[in-house]
């Protein structure tokens, strides 16, 4: 965790230095070149620290010029690779959000195997760019790109008319989620968002009684993010067809129960054929 911070700060200073450098010597340059420079720095960083491939980078100095060209982890949209990163992330990536303020202490450290799994239309900011969405007090129909979203989560009794898109999606920063205290939450840290209501599940997830660990049972702990299994808009797992049942043992046959809904039993084939 401390190395994480050190790398982050060093990268931050490097970025700041480069920015100053560019402002000083090529102030007239378009913002694009600045953006490229930032990307290069990020690349350098990932080369030096291969382990933290997907460490996100976010400029603290949100210059208006730079905003368009922020180096985002999802910039490369073709990149299907699963993003793995160490937790906690840099504080800078969660503006105004005190890092990791969950109620439970003592859970084992973990890495998240999360992925910016979203609609094909992500990045959201490509459409909802810069313009603050005005929440309206009426429930609207989903339109355009959003029609295929299954909103079971908010249609359930406990959700109806209590929350809507903007309860979880940040209106001012569309590529982020937003918590109840209006803090931005990164998509790969959605457990902070889900845990606001589902605190018991969040606790179990942090300690390992809920969710799923991958790779190993000892050593570095990598767990799946909530949204790997649950669709955030309709979180209940859907019924699916099971794998086929085992055949009865040789010489045996499956017979119906005498009770209409009772379980089937295995029976001796020979005896059964004599009886029926």
């Amino acid at each position: 965790m401390s190395t994480n911070k050190i790398t982050f700060y060093s990268v931050r200073y490097a970025v700041a230095f480069c920015a100053i450098f560019f402002f000083a010597f090529s102030f007239s340059n378009s913002s694009l070149s600045i953006g490229q420079e930032v990307e290069e720095v990020v690349e350098n960083k990932t080369e030096t620290d291969a382990e933290e491939e997907s460490e996100e980078e976010d400029e603290e100095s949100d210059d208006e010029e730079e905003e368009d060209d922020e180096a985002m982890p999802w910039d490369d949209e073709d990149d299907e690779e699963i993003k793995v990163f160490k937790f906690p992330q840099s504080t800078e990536f969660l503006p105004n959000f005190p890092i990791f303020k969950v109620k439970y202490a003592g859970f084992p450290e973990f890495k998240i195997k999360g992925r910016l799994r979203s609609s094909e239309y992500f990045l959201c900011s490509e459409c909802h760019d810069g313009v603050e969405l005005k929440p309206r007090p009426i429930i609207r129909e989903l339109r355009k790109e959003h029609t295929n979203i299954n909103l079971d989560h908010i249609k359930q009794e406990h959700g109806t008319e209590k929350f809507w898109c903007t309860t979880c999606h940040d209106t001012s920063r569309p590529d982020y989620l937003v918590g109840l205290k209006k803090q931005s939450i990164h998509f790969d840290q959605s457990f902070l968002l889900c845990g606001q209501c589902h605190s018991q599940n969040q606790k179990d997830w942090l300690f390992g009684a809920h969710g799923k660990r991958t790779g190993n049972w000892n050593g570095e702990r990598t767990i799946l993010l909530c949204t790997e299994c649950h669709s955030p808009h309709s979180p209940a797992l859907e019924p699916a067809s099971p794998n086929p049942p085992p055949p009865p043992r040789q010489g045996q046959i499956l017979v119906k129960s005498v009770h209409p809904e009772g379980p089937r039993k295995t029976w001796d084939k020979f005896i059964y054929s004599k009886q029926h």
């Binding site: 084992p108 018991q200 599940n201 179990d204 300690f207 390992g208 009684a209 809920h210 969710g211 799923k212 660990r213 991958t214 790779g215 190993n216 049972w217 000892n218 050593g219 799946l224 299994c229 797992l237 019924p239 699916a240 067809s241 099971p242 794998n243 086929p244 049942p245 085992p246 055949p247 009865p248 043992r249 040789q250 499956l254 009772g262 379980p263 089937r264 295995t266």
Partner: protein, 320 residues
């Protein structure tokens, strides 16, 4: 018996194991057999030292108990078994012999409120553990029960539904519970099955005589018998095996779940856990106070199957 419980020790210090009466008997038996077989077979045996054949057959017949083999004998036996497996299945198979890890006692917990009865674990297990595909030996049995009931008499593990979970039903997977006090071990007349230091009950398939006493003794229907010569399509064989676990078996021996010790002794997770799409399974070292399984045991309402039998399973069930 106590020294037997630590096979690693026995294997690594062959000079400590004094020549037992059984061994002496075996040696005289070898001599007797060879003498009786006469000059012809001796020459065959000599000519077949490299390529197997009669000498392999003899070696196999006189192969010692897993816990009594010295390191060299073990290597020889494994080499022979690998050779045989390749002959039979046409595929290079690696038979490992990883000893139990120090300070590790494996435990498993299963969240029955999460299990939806998809049977993904069952198929992953069959693929991992090289079970006979003809008779469909399956180590995991997913029981379907009435939602309010715990009556296993009324459970159905042959359920065949369009989609699961079916309304009003719950699902309850059972497999070997790795009892701390395993009745199957007590039942075995030839000590072909025993509990390893990491708590896994294992079987030496070459020592098992196929009497099936253990299957009768196991209260959890965990043991499966190879009634016929196992057949596995070549492309479906898992070549990464362990002597005590998923190496190719033969007709007439008992087999069962070993918590995938070929994987778990190397730090990996069991195949059933990896396959579970609902995350209902938690696996780990119950001696490690920071492990996930310990959290479950300490903070969840856990229960074990047929606790009254005093078998002390290391397989817990819990619900949210």
């Amino acid at each position: 018996m106590s020294e037997k419980n630590n096979p690693a020790k026995t294997v690594e210090t062959p000079e400590n194991s004094d020549v037992s009466r059984r061994e002496l008997f075996k040696k005289t038996a070898i001599a007797g057999t060879i003498a009786a077989a006469g000059a012809v077979s001796t020459t065959i045996a000599a000519s077949n030292v490299e390529s197997g054949g009669l000498s392999d057959a003899l070696d196999e017949f006189f192969q010692k108990h897993y816990q009594e083999m010295s390191k060299e004998e073990m290597q020889k036996a494994i080499a022979r078994l690998e050779r045989k497996a390749k002959e039979k299945h046409g595929k290079e198979i690696h038979i490992g012999n990883t000893p139990p890890l120090e300070g590790v006692l494996f435990g498993y917990a299963l969240n029955i409120s999460k299990c939806k009865g998809y049977r993904k674990c069952v198929d992953a297990c069959v693929a991992e553990n090289n079970q006979n595909r003809d008779t469909t030996i399956q180590y995991i049995r997913v029981l379907e029960l009435e939602n309010e009931s715990m009556n296993f008499e009324e459970a159905d593990h042959y359920y065949d539904r369009e989609t699961v979970p079916h309304t009003g039903k719950k699902y309850f997977p059972i497999q070997c519970q790795q009892c701390e006090n395993p009745p199957c071990v007590t039942a075995c007349p030839v000590e072909a099955t025993w509990k390893e230091a990491d708590g896994i009950t294992v079987i030496d398939y070459n020592w098992c005589i196929g009497c099936r006493y253990c299957a009768a003794a196991c209260p959890y229907w965990a043991r499966k018998f190879n009634w016929s010569e196992p057949s596995i399509p070549e492309e479906k064989i898992n070549p990464e095996t362990h002597y005590l676990s998923n190496r190719p078996r033969m007709r007439g021996v008992m087999e069962k779940c070993t918590f995938c010790l070929q994987r778990t002794r190397k730090g990996k997770l069991p195949a059933c856990l990896e396959a579970c799409p609902t995350g209902a399974r938690v696996f780990g070292n119950i001696l490690d106070p920071k492990s996930e399984i310990r959290y479950v045991l300490e903070n969840k309402k856990v229960f074990r199957l047929k606790e009254e039998l005093n078998t002390e399973p290391k397989f817990w069930y819990y619900s949210d």
